[in-house]
Subunit: 226 residues, 2 copies
DNA sequence: GTGGTGAGTTGACCTTGGTCAAAAGCTCAT
DNA sequence: ATGAGCTTTTGACCAAGGTCAACTCACCAC
C-alpha cells in the first residue's frame, strides 16, 4: 500500500458522490483538503477490528467489505461498499476504535479524509454537518433493512429482493451483470456460497436465468411474489 | 392517545438523556420548544411502515419496539427502545415515510419533537448537529453489531452476550432483573420465545440461573467462553 | 378454595441453511 | 490445446432453530 495525493480523476469521483452532491463547492474543497489516496490489492485488509482509525475512508474505485469475526475465524459481512461509498465515519465521530474489519474485495483506490479535520468541519460548516447527517441516516436505514430481511426472509427471497433492487424502473423483464463474484454476493446476503447457488436454482422456476455473472429476469411479477 | 405539553418531569428526563448530555442549555431548550407529550397503552401502535412522520420520538418512560413485517404477518424486531431513547429521526431527516412499525410494549409516555424545527436547528446550531451526529453513529453501530451477531452467533451465544452486556464492570458473579418480558427479549434477539427458553436452559450448565425475570450469573468466565 | 388467564417451558417434528466433499465449468499462461 | 488454479454447482448429511401443541406455573378474581 502506498500513499499519495489526489489526482484530478479522484477529485471528480469524490465530488460526484452522494455526500458532495448538495455541498457548495467551498465546503467540498474544505473536506477534501489534506485527503490522501492509497491503492490496495484484492484481499488487502484496510484495518482490523480494534485498530485506531484516524481517517474516514472513501471508495474511489474497487470494492470493500466490512465484516465481523466470530469463533473459529468465521466471518460475517456487515456491509459491502462500492465506488462512491464512505465508511469508517462512525468510529471517527465517536472517537472509537474500529468495530469491524475492512478488506478490499477488488483492487481498490481508497481516499482517506482526515478525521479530526472532518470533525472540526462538521462543527463549523452547517452544510457539511447536514450532508453527513443524511449519509448516516441512509447508512442506518440500509443496515436496519438488512437486519429485518435477515430475520424475515428465506435465502431465495433475499436473492429475489437483491435482484429486484438492481432492476431499473418498472420494466417487466430485464438483464444485468453482477458487479462482483457470487462469492461476495453470498456474503453480502448473509449466505454460504452454496446456499446462494441453490437459491438461484430455486428462482429458475420464477423466470430467473443465471449465466455466469449475467442475470436475466423474464417475469418480474413472479419474482415479487416469491 | 392524548396529546399535551411537557411536564417538568418530562423535561427532566429529556434533558438528562444522552442526546442532551453535552448540549448547552439554550440549545437544549430550543430543541424542546414546541414538543408535545402523548401517552400510550401497551400494544398501541405509534406509527406504521409507510406513515408520514413529522416528529422525532423520544421515550420518556415505557418501552417501544420498532419492527418490520414479512409475509403472513411475521414480525421481526429491528430495535427496542428503553426510556431515554430517540427514534424516527432517520425518516425525519431524510424526509421519508416510516420504514418500519413502532409499537409501545409497555404503557409509555412519548415526547414528540417537531421534525421540521429540528431540521432547522441542525443547520443553525452546530451543537445540535453534533449531538445528533453522535446519536446516529451510536445507533448505526448498535445495528451493525446486531447484524453481525445474528449472522455469527447461535441462540445461546446471543443470550450469553446479552446477559454479559447487562453486567456491570467486572464482578465474576452477579444478579439482575430483566427490564421486560422474555417475550420481548426473544424478539430483540431475533429468536422465537421457545428458542430463548431453550437457550436459557442450555446456559444453565454454564452457571446461569433464571427465576422468572431474575437472572443470576455464577460464573462469568464460563459465559464468556460460550 | 376454584377457575381463568397469560407467560413460560417442554416435546415432537420439520424446514432452512451450514458443512464437507466431489464434480463441473472458467480463465489464463504456457 | 493443455493443464493449473480458481469459482460455482451439486449431492449427502447434519445442526440450529421455527412451529405447533400440550403442559406447568404464577397470579388474580370470585
Amino acid at each position: 500500500m502506498k500513499t499519495s495525493r489526489l489526482t484530478s480523476n479522484d477529485r471528480a469521483v469524490l465530488l460526484g458522490s452522494r455526500l458532495f452532491a448538495n455541498l457548495p463547492a467551498p465546503a467540498a474543497e474544505a473536506v477534501l483538503e489534506g485527503a490522501t489516496i492509497s491503492r490496495h490489492e484484492a484481499q488487502d485488509v484496510l484495518f482490523h477490528q480494534g485498530d485506531a482509525i484516524e481517517h474516514v475512508f472513501f471508495v474511489v474505485s474497487g470494492l470493500v467489505r466490512l465484516y465481523g469475526t466470530g469463533k473459529g475465524g468465521r466471518e460475517a459481512d456487515i456491509a459491502v461498499f462500492p465506488r462512491g461509498a464512505l465508511f469508517g465515519e462512525k468510529a471517527v465521530f465517536l472517537d472509537q476504535r474500529a468495530t469491524a474489519h475492512a478488506q478490499a474485495v477488488h483492487p481498490s483506490i481508497i481516499a482517506k479524509l482526515d478525521g479530526p479535520r472532518l470533525c472540526r468541519l462538521v462543527r463549523e460548516e452547517a452544510d457539511v454537518a447536514w450532508a453527513l447527517l443524511e449519509l448516516l441516516c441512509r447508512h442506518g436505514q440500509m443496515t436496519e433493512k438488512r437486519l429485518a430481511e435477515d430475520r424475515l426472509l428465506t435465502a431465495p427471497q433475499r436473492v429475489a429482493n437483491y435482484i429486484l433492487g438492481q432492476c431499473p424502473g418498472d420494466s417487466p423483464a430485464f438483464t444485468f451483470r453482477l458487479p462482483f463474484q457470487k462469492n461476495v454476493l453470498a456474503g453480502k446476503l448473509g449466505l454460504a456460497p452454496e446456499a446462494l447457488s441453490r437459491a438461484f436454482s430455486t428462482l429458475r422456476q420464477s423466470g430467473v436465468i443465471v449465466k455466469g455473472r449475467l442475470i436475466e429476469i423474464r417475469d418480474r411479477e413472479a419474482l415479487e411474489r416469491f
